[in-house]
Assembly symmetry: C2
Homo-oligomer: 499 residues x 2
């Protein structure tokens, strides 16, 4: 028996940033050579456009500098290959940024330390659907939209529905959700088990396939939302639901955001269970109309989009009518509900194109080089409407264009702010106020995007120094050399840290 | 800047048991003196009955030996007092077992290392209900039944409904659930934020009050299910739901367990959303009848108990009828539904008395010193009926009495086995087979009781050596001296460990 190697001398339970050394990294060259030798030439890229695309995205709130590029992008095809890569980067102390869909918005995959990028996108097989158990096992590169299409044939659905292009690995990383979260839960509620690779290359399977479990530490809970800083996700077993037999969609416009809020509170009090409730502000509806991406023209007013699902037409009709009645007592202007599946898709379509329509509007009507800052917060439900109204008014006062969309079932809203390059500092202040407003309302600086690179400072304001020091303790326990997605979520480098 | 104190020399991501030293503990005497001096005489007990009650329970599957008693039981009344206790036990390296309701079943609070017990039961205040936000903040000593009563006035409900007597702290610790979990989720899905005290006395607040969050590591997810080995829970903010306006309860008997299973699959496929679905086997129904604890007499057949809840009588009536139709096509014998709230309570009553009725039956009809072994597993839903039927048949073959209850919505079932002291070894084999059966079906050795002392060996079979080594890494990172609830969930002492 040897002595414990990782009990700190002090025996404390947390690690403060002052206790950490400045991380030292090795030269990636040898690691890259060894990995290429093992995996072959067809699983690596050194092409500039690939390196660029694996560092940044147009729609990200924060951007990589020109030096912030990985030295290579690897495309492993099995968990064992990922393990080989991580064993090698561990040996040579090379930083690794894991990605899948690269749709995250807060600079979550900027290669701040260069190193290498591991893109899991080729691991895109659906491995097993267990219809009767209501679960599916997939590789982490599977996109949620592909999964959704695939599951239609089984009459099943997977709850989380984030932005287009997102894939399971990244969805686990950011603990994402989407419009359906209030009904079906976020990633936290929809993962049964994970296969992940740790910083030293160890492969971990967190769970077997029971729908619930109290057996041992909840490692799913730890990895979900850790943004690639604790492990690289390679497979996931996901909870499924039976697809509602009958559905409908309604669209309701209100004179004021607060009226829409009162209607939502009314649905909840009444016990109506909707499959989604989305709020789009008047500006968002204007952008949708201008975009030409939908065939219907909408009222340019605060608008609720409601999705209903259930076992029978009687039950859906009851709910559609009950919701209408509640809307009417809260000054609704128009209550449009679909009379066919095509109409359902058409109405819901306005929600789906929100970010694209916003960007499109900006390019065509403001500046062809328009920038976008898309960010989210979540607050206790009763604070939602005032919080988003204040953000909206601040934008208007400054003459900055931007749309707002809210997942009103769980108090989460998104601001999609359009600006010219030179206006960035002004927008940063609006975002800062949006965060402060959320924190003052006992909320969080991110409901579903994650902290990434851009919100570290706000996370410091959200949780106590000790809570951050506990997160640091966990990070250093699992990744002592600070190799996995460095500089995200919170700082581990005292040289970088500003209080 | 100092050097990192807790990065292991090897830089690995896991800790195997061979790497750990045999833990060394200090004499509790000085720690107890200091704590008594700080907290006062009225917050400590040395009375034998208190020490006994804080070591074991009649209904536990595993029992404490006579030496396994804490040296003192403390009853702190604030988080700061808990922090003072833990700072002191940390200073003197004294083991601490935290408890609240002491209703756990797998030896989860046996004081294997003596030390002290911290009973959070006096921290039983409901601190704030936020009606519009659908959340409540409570101290960890609040019982779920008291909370349920309290929330009725607000027309709200908290989902998890484990055994009578359970309190929030222990419910967090075991990631418990209950009959309503398939509808409202387990503890994992119902905790918004926690206040906990770490092994060194550090107070951590995990989150503010947003209903969802992607901000930083999901510490809720880590602490829930960690069975007091990572932290002592002192406060929790919990998700609430609006209580259904209209409810009903039905009771259906079937000739065979498999028929009941087919009916449940039918409900799921139809998209009926029930508030609870419970299976009671024929033996359980016999014990309920004999117990005299309910006024109705039931068919002594496999029985489903169904709870319905929704916004209107029309919707509930529709669901009750739709469920009846599905039951009929699956050979149901009798379909009884309540016509009043009194009848609802009466019918559901048979479920509520399950464990007590079983013990009562054993005492009156088998042996006045009857023992009970109440344990649970969870399997993918489609494996549930065969799995529990095989356990049932094994009991019958050995002539051992026992009832079975299943939370059929999520593949979780409980066996409550009655035996005379001298039959313990025989029962242990039945339990072992029940575990093996669950694992062979890709399930878990505990769906909601936790691993405690009694199921460590089975957890070793459920997860890989590396997965256990990752749990050990986390444990030693947060509790380097192995003070919090030692010897539970998995072994940290290489001297104790048997492979």
């Amino acid at each position: 028996m040897t002595h414990a190697t990782n009990g700190p001398a002090t025996g404390s339970s947390i690690t403060r940033i002052e206790e950490l050394p400045v991380p030292k990294y090795g030269d990636p060259k040898k690691a890259i050579e060894e990995i290429v030798k093992q995996l072959g030439d067809d699983k690596v890229s050194f092409v500039k456009s690939d390196l660029d695309n694996h560092s940044d995205a147009y729609f990200s709130s924060d951007h990589a500098s020109e030096e912030q590029r990985p030295k290579a992008v690897f495309y492993p095809e099995t968990t064992e290959e990922v393990s080989f890569i991580l064993k090698t980067t561990h040996k040579y102390r090379v930083p690794v940024v894991p990605v899948t869909g690269r749709t995250s918005l807060e600079g979550n995959f900027i290669p701040t330390r260069q190193g290498i990028c591991v893109d899991i996108a080729r691991m895109n097989k659906i491995l097993a659907v267990h219809e009767k158990d209501l679960d599916v096992t997939v590789e982490a590169g599977v996109g949620w939209q592909d999964l959704d299409k695939y599951l239609k044939d089984y009459n099943l659905l997977f709850g989380p529905d984030p932005g287009p292009g997102a894939r399971i690995g990244g969805m686990v990383a950011t603990s994402c959700s989407g419009p359906s979260a209030a009904r079906w839960g976020t990633m936290k509620e929809n993962v049964i088990g994970l296969t992940v690779v740790l910083a030293d290359g160890t492969i971990i399977k967190t769970k077997k396939r029971p729908r619930k479990s109290s057996a041992g530490y909840n490692l799913n809970g730890l990895f979900i939302g850790s943004e690639g800083t604790l492990a690289v996700v390679t497979e996931a077993t996901l909870r499924l639901n039976v697809r509602p037999k009958v559905t409908n969609v309604a669209l309701v416009s209100f004179p004021k955001v607060s009226d829409a809020g009162k209607a939502v509170a009314g649905f909840v009090q009444e016990g109506l269970q909707l499959d989604a409730m989305e709020l789009l502000d008047d500006t968002m509806m204007h952008y949708v109309n201008v975009s030409g991406k939908t065939s219907l023209k909408y009222e340019e007013l605060p608008t609720l989009m409601l999705k209903f699902g259930g076992p029978s037409k009687e039950i859906i009709d009851y709910q559609v009518k009950a919701a209408q009645k509640i809307c009417q007592t809260n000054n609704s202007q128009k209550y449009l509900f679909a009379r066919s599946e095509k109409e359902e898709q058409e109405i819901w379509g306005a929600r789906k194109v929100a970010l694209l329509a916003t960007i499109d509007y900006g390019r065509k009507n403001i500046d062809k080089d328009i920038q976008v800052w898309a960010t989210d917060v979540a607050v206790p439900i009763s604070h939602l409407y005032q919080s988003l109204q204040e953000t909206k008014e601040e934008l208007q006062k400054l003459g900055i264009a931007g749309s707002i969309v809210g997942h009103v079932g769980d108090g989460n809203y998104h601001a999609m702010i359009l600006f010219k390059k030179e206006e960035r500092a002004k927008v940063a202040v609006v975002v800062e106020h949006m965060m402060e407003r959320a924190l003052a309302a006992d909320g969080t600086v991110t409901g579903e995007h994650g902290v990434g690179w851009g919100k570290k400072h706000y996370l410091q304001e959200e949780v106590s120094e000790e809570t951050l020091a506990l997160m640091r303790r966990i990070k250093i326990a699992l990744d002592p050399y600070n190799l996995l997605n460095p500089d995200k979520v919170f700082d581990m480098d005292p040289a970088l840290f500003e209080n």
